[in-house]
Symmetry: C2
Subunit: 203 residues, 2 copies
């Protein structure tokens, strides 16, 4: 079993954190997406959508997509639960993970992919106006997140979950995406310090 | 328990199909997003992100986000399984659902939200160049899906799953998004006929 990734990208970091929180040891193989390594015929055979991370199982089956890989490990290593327990909590974790992913991470990633000169050869066409439109979207979601984190310890409740992993990786990716975190988001600051101190944040 | 939705929108349709496949009866409440009904203070209190569908539980808890609502019902009504059984199949269903959602549905929805004149007051700023950039993206994913459906009956394997629901709702939403399905995608045509014939497709 191995995970193919590009270490500097935010989605592989989400999987590494998830795997580290589970205490799982697994082999990682590096492929530099910035150098076009995901466009080769060999990699395209593994994942027609040419994205990392990809999990290759011992039987050769391929699981692409960050959350699908996390789901696999949640099933094979249920403890500690990172996707909630019971119907209601599982739904709440999924809701908050999706707010952090489809809202925040996508806005930050769009600002990066469509705004950063180094992405111009990979994101075709690069739509600069779309990069700019996403920066205020990211900041709006941060404002909501700050309010929410005033009411509870973690993004989806009183327990650390995959939603915290997604939020941390998205917020830390704001720097390469050239979005400045506004001052005064005190609850995010408190939470960011706590979550960044977990050993998994350095995985 | 009730679901708040806008009947004509593709994400509420995904939830209705999912609920119908499970054989669950539930109350629906209509709110017309095109008329700004999701921007009211009352609805914003339910979902700060101002999107439908939203599931309101009997204890007042709110589950927003399509897949979080589906997850809730998958947990409370496990049969028939629509998200796979066992670690590997669950991961594969999630992978294909995400390919259909983050790839296809997002491209189609972006073409609609950023291209349709009726959305100009809701999607601010409306980035026309982004709408256009998404049309070829949607067609590329359709090409991959057509190849895949030449190898198996359903999107994620030999069993109907949430990935079929997402793909059907995305493909049927191509018409309002003004993307023409190319001729010659024979496997998609076969699958589209079969899946559209299920009673849940009319839910």
């Amino acid at each position: 079993m191995k995970i193919i990734e590009t270490r500097s990208a935010p989605n592989p970091r989400r999987v590494r954190m998830f795997v580290a929180e589970k205490g799982i040891t697994i082999a990682y193989e590096e492929m530099d997406l910035m150098k076009g390594a995901l466009r080769t015929p060999e990699f395209t055979k593994l994942n027609k959508f040419q994205r990392v991370p990809v999990l290759v199982l011992d039987d050769g089956a391929v699981i692409a997509e960050t959350m699908a890989i996390c789901r696999y490990f949640e099933e094979t290593h249920p403890t500690p639960a990172l996707m909630g327990t019971g119907a209601k909590q599982r739904a709440q974790v999924e809701m908050w993970n999706r707010h952090m992913e489809l809202g925040l991470m996508f806005a930050v990633a769009s600002a990066f992919r469509h705004g950063h000169p180094a992405m111009a050869h990979l994101e075709v066409p690069q739509v600069k106006e779309w990069a700019e439109a996403n920066k205020p979207k990211a900041l709006e979601i941060l404002k909501v997140l700050d309010e929410e984190l005033g009411e509870r310890q973690f993004v989806a409740g009183d327990t650390f979950s995959v939603a915290d992993i997604t939020a941390l990786c998205a917020i830390d990716f704001m720097r390469p995406a050239r979005i400045t975190r506004p001052d005064g988001l005190k609850n995010i600051e408190r939470w960011h310090g706590e979550v960044s101190a977990r050993p998994s944040a350095k995985a």
